[in-house]
Symmetry: C2
Subunit: 326 residues, 2 copies
């Protein structure tokens, strides 16, 4: 139960390519605003060619959470697969520079490092097209058992269910964490991702997940219900803690006995990319410090607010200072 790390994130290691776009471009490319779509090489090239000038920055849902949690002061490690190429080097540099331990060896052959093409519309919504690249080869061999055992919370992104070999890695990590007396956390990532993997997620949530993160659309999709109250009733029978985010309506921390409402921290919304990732970072950083659930929720809301106040998913402010008053 001792831990060298507060949080171990396991996720798709990728570099974001962010460009501003208008709604007409989304229609032209037949993209659903606000969603994450998996794309193959050809489609990725078509979309990239149609995009405006971009900026590249390290991303990936769990990677973003790790970087933000480290910025708050948590001790963090990350497992994910990049290729031995320039973008892989960028990913490795950035997550280490954020203070996160990252030692998964790069793939020396196979597809290049994953990219997420992100179109940010004037309403600050992000629409993501993910080319999984090297991530499709993440498998059980990448799960460093000693790191899992030495981490208080092993945090898994739902997107990891898309590359098939990663599902086994995912389950291995959850099993190892519990064998070591540690906790398992999952974010459902995206309502379409839940659609793709509902049965597997349902089993995982019931059997392995101690702390679940989901937004409203994702938790409704998981339980195939239409009312938020029904989703709350369902999830509280299955997990120790569920942190359910509701955009501008704030979030609710649900336990078997309680439901704690957390208000949003107001800001000017520039780009919602990474909001959920930052929320999980704030929550888990607080949780592993032994803070109350209400305090964890406030730290989560502060981190999410910072993430949406600028273009890009990773923190640009000193999150430790921002949450100091909680």
């Amino acid at each position: 139960m001792g831990a060298a790390f507060d949080i171990l994130g396991i996720g798709n290691a990728m570099v974001d390519v962010i460009a501003r776009a208008d709604d007409a471009l989304l229609r032209q490319l037949d993209l659903t605003k606000g969603s994450m779509t998996l794309v193959d090489t050809t489609r990725a090239e078509t979309i990239y060619a149609a995009m405006g000038p971009g900026t590249e920055s390290s991303g990936g849902s769990a990677g973003n959470t790790c970087a933000a949690a480290a910025s708050i002061g948590a001790r963090v490690a990350f497992i994910g697969l990049v290729a031995d190429d320039q973008l892989g080097g960028v990913f490795r540099h950035d997550i280490r520079a954020a203070g996160v331990a990252f030692d998964t060896p790069a793939a020396s052959d196979g597809p290049p490092t994953a990219r997420c093409l992100i179109l940010v519309t004037p309403d600050a919504q992000r629409t993501m097209c993910t080319y999984l690249g090297a991530c499709v080869n993440l498998d059980e061999s990448a799960i460093a058992a000693d790191t899992v055992a030495a981490s208080r919370v092993t945090y898994l992104e739902g997107y990891l269910f898309d590359p098939p070999a990663a599902q086994a890695a995912f389950r291995k990590a959850a099993r190892l964490a519990h064998e070591a007396g540690q906790l398992v956390s999952l974010t459902l990532s995206d309502p379409f991702c839940v659609d793709r993997h509902r049965a597997a997620f349902r089993t995982l949530v019931k059997e392995e997940v101690d702390i679940l993160f989901a937004n409203e659309a994702e938790i409704l999709s998981l339980y195939r219900v239409e009312r938020f109250e029904d989703a709350v009733a369902a999830v509280r029978t299955e997990t120790r803690v569920a942190a359910l985010t509701r955009s501008e309506k704030g979030s609710v921390i649900v336990t078997p006995e309680h439901a704690i409402e957390i208000a949003v921290v107001p800001t000017t919304v520039v780009d919602t990319t990474g909001a959920g990732d930052a929320y999980a970072a704030g929550f888990l950083a607080g949780y592993t410090q032994g803070r109350s659930l209400a305090a964890c929720g406030r730290m989560a809301a502060i981190a999410a607010s910072e993430a949406i106040s600028h273009v890009g998913a990773r923190p640009q402010a000193d999150l430790r200072a921002l949450v100091a008053g909680v």
Copy 2:
């Protein structure tokens, strides 16, 4: 004298890696604030490892000028050498997405695409470390004679004098432009760059340059004088137009007969990277539209103001709209 392009930029094609830094890191790395230093592979790796999480975006002085001029509405082409690698693909995508014609074939062997490591301190100053990579192999063969002949102004960045083979390319382009009855423009780029190549620059300015861009430190260095007035007196005997920038003191457009003072356009300064590049873009876009020198100067000041109001060198606003009132 007909022209398919208003501006042809020739420069080092590179991707910027921008990270926030404090003064202590500059001292630790022995870097001179505000300067551009050439670094080899080993030094680039050392500096990159010491830098915080970064964002990548296409850069290069002339490349930035081309992207900004295209944003204003000028017809623009670019010549520069990237490698056939991921960052080369990023550079090519971004400059084309900005509306710039870019057809220089990528180098299929040799060093990787150039990178500029940019440390932005809290005072908004940028300190640059350039790894020239593939740029060292730009030579005369890259100068597409028909493109030069078809461009009203061929714009050259002084940094191109650093990779040796590029100097010959530089002179070839200037000669071809004048043979076709077109204009040649040069930016001195950096006072240390002027120090490295003063004699060559002096000859070039006197014999080939119609429109010269320089900041105060650069023009003082070129003529080895201490007073701005003395530099003005010298440059007006050698070029048709010199646009001399003086940071917060604005700029002066100098001709043999006149000196026109241009005020700065106030903004909140976030990152000075690309200020001079954007200034040249605004000026040349106006000049090739046949605008008065005063109007060119105002367009230049507006473009520079936009560039320093955000992190990154390339425009993020619609420059055409911003200069519409001039």
